[in-house]
């Protein structure tokens, strides 16, 4: 029952924030306190009180929720909390809709990953999309363009997801995805394609990715961080659950997903290398990460799905860390153009350390968390046989420009300054900006050094998703 509170709290606090929104400071502290309470209850329930899974399973019948996605819902709440803390310092005099909508996105995302009812899932995905669109307009000016692109493309994608969910309901005769039986393979093919277009748009898969750089580039940093790490990961997890709820997932669909994944990795990595703007650089790197997760889905074995789910959780931590580091840089220097930065390592050592940890983790360098999940995915690719060993090697090659891009950006931002100009002036960074960066960097290291607790859970989860 406590788990349900943690999902309801963000939505209740969102309503409270909407009520208190005239006073932005009080609203901000109420939002941070509410999210912290939600995170504490979730953590206590997870580690101390009782098995979260057991308590949730008893509620499944009444609320259409399942313990299947708790391993993904937990980081959504934790990262949502850190992002709310970060917003306390980063967003001054927040506009009235900022905290209510941010909490709505956090609450709906956490609930969507454990939701098994197709109608409720459809509602949660739509609420998340519409709230995000309004939040993207926050900074006005170019943000309106970004919001237009986001809402038009994601509404088209959302329509495909809706049609896929309705087709599932029509074909299986139930709204509960946990009770799916068997249906003809051509129906599975049709539903899978609609799902891939719909959720692929939300994930930012090529060729439906064009909204990603604009949206992440123009939205406030905490919103971009949550979208890039958490919403994207949650959408990928929902795609996994829906695709593999239809037994058997078709080989042709999986191959199609793998090829889309490689295209996504390639486009993301190459475009990231060419970027001059820090936020757009991270946006393209998040496209590359989406490709890696999609590749795990494309392999389709339980080992690959375990790696993919671990990568989703890791990406939530790593990508949020990098976005918050970039947010700290922008807050301290008021600059986001990579060419105008440099020499920040001595002036912002904690942010520099956080950035290099996040970049190395995303590049899959041991002993950080990204290494474990990417290794699991590649290993599964080699084990699968057929085309997949070759595709896995191709994936590895395609990620190389991304690694080079991280090194280039770190070098230009934190190390070498432009000799013709002085390093930018850096203003004081509040503790609410620094603490989330430290926590996320420590998590990257700990999840890499002690991965067993998570790998066991994701392995069991992957087997459960595949109906084992």
């Amino acid at each position: 029952m406590y788990i349900l509170y943690t999902l309801i709290i963000p939505l209740v606090v969102a309503a409270l924030c909407a009520f208190l929104s005239r006073n932005s400071k009080i609203c901000a502290y109420v939002a941070a306190a509410g999210m912290t309470l939600s995170a504490i209850i979730f953590t206590a329930n997870w580690f101390i009180v009782t098995s979260a899974a057991t308590s949730l399973d008893t509620l499944a019948a009444d609320f259409g929720l399942s313990s299947t996605g708790l391993i993904v819902a937990y980081p959504v709440i934790i990262i949502g909390t850190l992002i709310t803390w970060f917003s306390l310092a980063y967003i001054n005099n927040a506009r009235r809709f900022y905290y209510p909508l941010l909490l709505v996105i956090i609450g709906t995302t956490a609930t969507a990953v454990i939701c098994t009812n197709l109608a409720a899932l459809s509602a949660l995905l739509e609420i998340s999309t519409l709230s995000t669109a309004i939040l993207v307009t926050y900074r006005k000016g170019p943000a309106f363009e970004a919001a237009t692109k986001y809402i038009v493309l994601n509404s088209i994608g959302g329509s495909f997801t809706l049609i896929a969910l309705i087709l599932m309901f029509v074909s299986y005769g139930t709204l509960d995805m946990a009770s799916f039986g068997s249906i003809p393979s051509n129906t599975i093919l049709l539903i899978s394609l609609f799902l891939l277009i719909g959720l692929g748009t939300k994930i930012g898969a090529v060729p439906m990715h064009s909204w990603v750089p604009d949206t992440y580039g123009e939205a406030p940093i905490p919103v971009s961080a949550f979208l890039a790490g958490t919403v994207k990961g949650a959408s990928a997890f929902i795609l996994i659950r829906l695709l593999f709820a239809m037994h058997p997932a078709l080989d042709v669909v999986l191959l199609f997903v793998s090829i889309t994944a490689l295209l996504t990795v390639g486009v993301g990595a190459i475009m990231a290398y060419t970027q001059k703007d820090l936020k757009r650089f991270l946006a393209y790197s998040s496209i590359e990460q989406a490709g890696i997760i999609l590749f795990a889905i494309g392999i389709g074995s339980s080992a690959a799905l375990a790696g993919g789910i671990f990568q989703i959780v890791n990406n939530m931590v790593m990508k949020t860390l990098l976005f918050l580091c970039v947010g700290a840089i922008i807050a301290a220097t008021k600059k986001r153009d990579i060419g105008s930065l440099g020499g920040l390592v001595t002036k912002m050592p904690i942010v520099a350390a956080g950035f290099i940890v996040g970049a190395l983790a995303l590049s899959g360098i041991p002993p950080l968390n990204g290494f474990i999940s990417e290794y699991m995915i590649l290993q599964a690719g080699f084990q699968k046989g057929g085309y997949y060993p070759g595709l896995s090697v191709l994936l590895l090659v395609l990620t190389l420009p991304m690694f080079a891009a991280y090194i280039k950006v770190f070098q230009r931002t934190f190390l070498a300054g432009d000799e013709s100009r002085e390093a930018p002036e850096v203003s004081y960074l509040p503790i609410y900006i620094i603490i989330p960066i430290i926590i996320l960097a420590v998590l990257c290291v700990l999840m890499g050094i002690f991965p067993t607790a998570i790998t066991e859970q994701v392995n069991n989860l992957a087997i459960a998703i595949l109906g084992g």
């Binding site: 519409l130 309106f144 919001a147 038009v152 809706l162 074909s171 990603v212 123009e218």
Partner: protein, 215 residues
Amino acid sequence: MAAHRRSSVSDIWGAIMETVLTFGILWAIFACAIVFLRDKWAALALLALNVTIAAFLFTENDLMGAVLKAALGILSPVIIMLAVARTSEPTPRFSKPTLIIGTVLTITLSCLAAFLVQSQFPTERIAETYILFVLLGTAFLIIGSQRSVLKLLLGILILENIGTLLLTWGGTNALFAAVTEIFVVLITLTIAYIAVLDFAEYGTIDSSKLIKLRG
């Protein structure tokens, strides 16, 4: 007695098929009208589409769906017309003759696609298959051929209507129908609001001019 019952069932089925076809042809006409017409009149075509879908749901004995569609289906066109009043429609990307050729081609290709896959659908749903493919094709045509953000919204709303029809034909669920209709209105409201913001900021709702960020 049995022969009489068979005859009655076949009569009823025949009537329903006629209804499906009649409504389907009407929907195709309204959807195609959205391709040609200016934003304001296109919103009225959407209103006609929604009202006829509500009437169709009523003939299918889906009273809940009909009421939802009638009540909420009016809101979207009204919201779009309010947004039209606060914006100025951009010059269309294609001329009327090009759009007419495009529409004819789209309908032909949609029917061809439906013909190719009709064996995969239930035999009693052949007419519905054709109608869905034509609506899907028209929605793509609108999204692909229009510059106005509000016209793109109309294309999205046709896609959402396909969901409503699938739900009706596949086994109505009041919860799912309500969720779908409510979010259609919310999507309309959000896109129309952002279009008005775009117009206030840039003086246009031309999607091809709103891509300066070049994603």
